[in-house]
């Protein structure tokens, strides 16, 4: 926002703005951000762009290689799979399941986890370090194993996989929020606001929250990376999304039988997954470094 500089005062940017300035100076991270925006666009308007339906079969075009090879067909830019389904269409629809759904899951887990974590930190509750250590130890169990436990009870399926990942992510958000709020509460500026007599809600939302949002953003990208990988892994193990769903992980699982004859059926969903994960991790790591540098300043 352009702001006329009438007075010779130095306007220091807000904490989040400073992180953004730092972030923008990294070309690789910006590229990753653009990729993520593109994928989000595909998630939103994908069906408008695709020429076919994800499960539409073309009997005359079974296991066609991508269009640039001699046996390819320009109707199917990235080829077709063993049932004659267009790969481009399936990949674009797959973005909904492999990026859109994890995003939704992480958002709801973040909402619940941050709410509970903030409530736990603001109210004087059990603050024994034993409980904290207990949580630490329990959280050392990997998320995929916890998701497997939940799926073992509920049964396989895409919805159950999402539910499981969401339930696994909530404690992580809770833990991070609680620790961050706890650390901020010892700072002088919080004490100053408290001496001014502000209410607890004001203290949380207006005083503490703007200062911990950076930590939460980083945790969000970590959670997103975990959710994408775990939902795809569950799909691959045939415990998540089931057969005709164009989810990237389950597409990989289905491609195993034809991997030698038509390797592109296996390579493409994995490549899409890899690009998405690299972008998420790159954005997360750059944000983390930017925040750390800002703290050191």
């Amino acid at each position: 926002m352009a702001r006329p500089n009438l007075y010779y005062e130095e306007r220091s940017p807000a904490p989040l703005e400073m992180v953004w300035l730092e972030f923008r100076s990294k070309p690789l991270a910006m590229a990753a951000l653009y990729i993520l925006l593109l994928i989000s666009l595909l998630v939103l308007i994908g069906p408008l762009l695709t020429p076919y339906e994800p499960n539409q079969q073309f009997i005359d075009a079974i296991s066609l290689p991508p269009a640039w090879s001699t046996a390819g067909d320009i109707r199917f830019l990235l080829g077709t799979d063993e049932l004659g389904r267009d790969m481009v269409t399936r990949l674009i629809y797959g973005a909904r399941y492999s990026f859109g759904l994890p995003l939704l899951v992480v958002m709801s887990a973040a909402l619940i986890g941050i709410g509970l974590g903030a409530a736990a930190a603001m109210t004087v509750g059990v603050k024994s370090s034993t409980l904290k250590h207990l949580l630490d130890v329990l959280m050392s169990i990997p998320s995929l194993l916890l998701a497997l436990i939940i799926i073992a009870i509920l049964g396989p399926g895409l919805f159950n996989a999402m539910l499981a990942i969401g339930l696994v992510l909530i404690p992580q958000f809770l833990h991070v929020t609680r620790n961050a709020v706890h650390d901020e509460q010892k700072r002088a500026y919080v004490t100053a606001s408290r001496l001014n007599g502000v209410s607890q809600l004001y203290l949380l939302f207006t005083v503490i929250f703007p200062n911990i949002i950076k930590v939460l953003v980083v945790q969000f990208t970590i959670g997103l990376s975990i959710a994408i990988l775990d939902i795809a892994a569950l799909g691959f193990l045939r415990l998540g999304a089931q057969a005709p769903t164009p989810e990237w992980g389950s597409m990989l699982a289905q491609s195993l039988e034809v991997a030698y004859v038509s390797p592109w059926v296996m390579a493409l969903p994995g490549l899409a997954l890899f690009l998405t994960l690299v972008s998420v991790n790159l954005v997360g790591e750059t944000l983390r470094v930017a925040i750390q540098r800002q703290l050191e300043r």
């Binding site: 370090s129 329990l138 436990i149 691959f236 415990l239 969903p269 690299v278």
Partner: protein, 342 residues
């Protein structure tokens, strides 16, 4: 240290107890009957009446739980619903197989991981650092199940350098004892020892190296961050001021202190390793815990699910507690934080 030791052991016991509560609860939460779910004996079996009595099927929850614990400690973990194999004996075999690949992959990750991380930190924000960091970040993002498939397709099928799956060629008659194939061959001492070892090693190359990639990338980043942190400390400047050579400062002051931070974060690495081990075992048909657990979930083999979960979760908990203890024992300066409130 004694206080810390007791505290950690107490913590371990509490979490293990919670874990047995969970696996006991699973028997009730799974669809079907509790006795069948936890013992693997169907109601039309002639042994069913005895089993109900032994496991206190008609009694209250508390005596049921106590009976469950008694069975757990005496090694009667029920039989598989599918093939009637005793779960506990199968677990012992598969545990060895899992531990073998996981440990080897961990070592393989550690050996190049730490030097590369140190190298990146020494050339902070130079081309070397950027290259190592980019490789490690993108390597960390490769989905392991896709990477394994590509590797099988290229290295095993296309080039034919190594076998596709399994532990050893079934032509070699190696009686399974520990589950770890290398140990089993050494124990059996067949006349074709060298050939068998060679075959087993060939089978192991692909799973172990694929499993090692992701932890290695994580180790590189953790080591780099730890080294950067340490290099800014005053004692490093003091070392240079005393006139020590760069090599001396790095070797005897920077690296040992960086290892301290690395060790604290190894817990995250262990969980990553175990997750990937489960997936890699499924792909390579490695007869380990992970592939067994995943198979039992879609075959709804409840006694196996219970046993497998208990063992994997307990393994992770025990390893992370041991890491904590080792950390506190080796580096006394961190004990103060670990005590929590003074």
């Amino acid at each position: 240290m004694t206080r810390y030791l007791f505290r950690q052991i107490g913590l371990l016991l509490v979490t293990l107890w919670l874990l047995t509560l969970l696996t006991y609860g699973l028997g009730h939460w799974f669809p079907g009957e509790f006795i069948t779910n936890s013992s693997g004996i169907f109601p039309d079996d002639i042994r069913y009446e005895d089993i109900v009595e032994q496991r206190a099927g008609d009694a209250g929850i508390l005596s049921q739980y106590i009976a469950y614990l008694q069975h757990l400690f005496s090694g009667q973990w029920g039989v598989s619903l599918l093939d009637g194999e005793p779960v506990f004996e199968q677990l012992q075999l598969r545990f060895g197989a899992t531990l073998e690949v996981a440990l080897l992959a961990f070592l393989l990750a550690l050996i190049p991981g730490i030097p590369l991380g140190v190298l990146a930190a020494l050339y902070f924000r130079k081309p070397v650092d950027h290259t190592i960091l980019t490789i490690s970040l993108s390597g960390y993002s490769i989905p392991v199940f896709w990477f394994a498939q590509i590797a099988i397709l290229v290295i095993a099928v296309h080039w034919g350098m190594v076998p596709i799956s399994g532990q050893i060629n079934p032509l070699y008659d190696i009686p399974p004892r520990t589950g770890s194939i290398l140990l089993d061959i050494m124990l059996a001492q067949p006349s074709y020892l060298a050939a068998a070892l060679h075959n087993a090693l060939l089978h192991m190359v692909l799973p172990v190296s694929i499993l090692a990639v992701m932890p290695m990338m994580l180790i590189i980043r953790l080591t780099r961050n730890a080294m950067l942190d340490v290099l800014q400390q005053n004692y490093i400047t003091a070392g240079y001021a005393k006139g020590l050579s760069t090599a001396r400062v790095i070797w005897s002051h920077a690296i040992p202190n960086a290892m301290q931070q690395l060790l604290r974060q190894l817990g995250a690495l262990i969980s990553l390793l175990i997750t990937n081990t489960m997936i890699v075992e499924v792909i390579f048909s490695w007869p380990g815990l992970g592939s067994w657990l995943v198979r039992s979930i879609y075959e709804r083999d409840y006694p196996v699910i219970q046993g497998g979960l208990l063992v994997i979760a307990a393994l992770i908990l025990i390893v992370s507690i041991i890491l904590n203890l080792f950390h506190a024992w080796r580096y006394p300066q961190v004990r103060k934080d670990l005590y929590g409130t003074p």
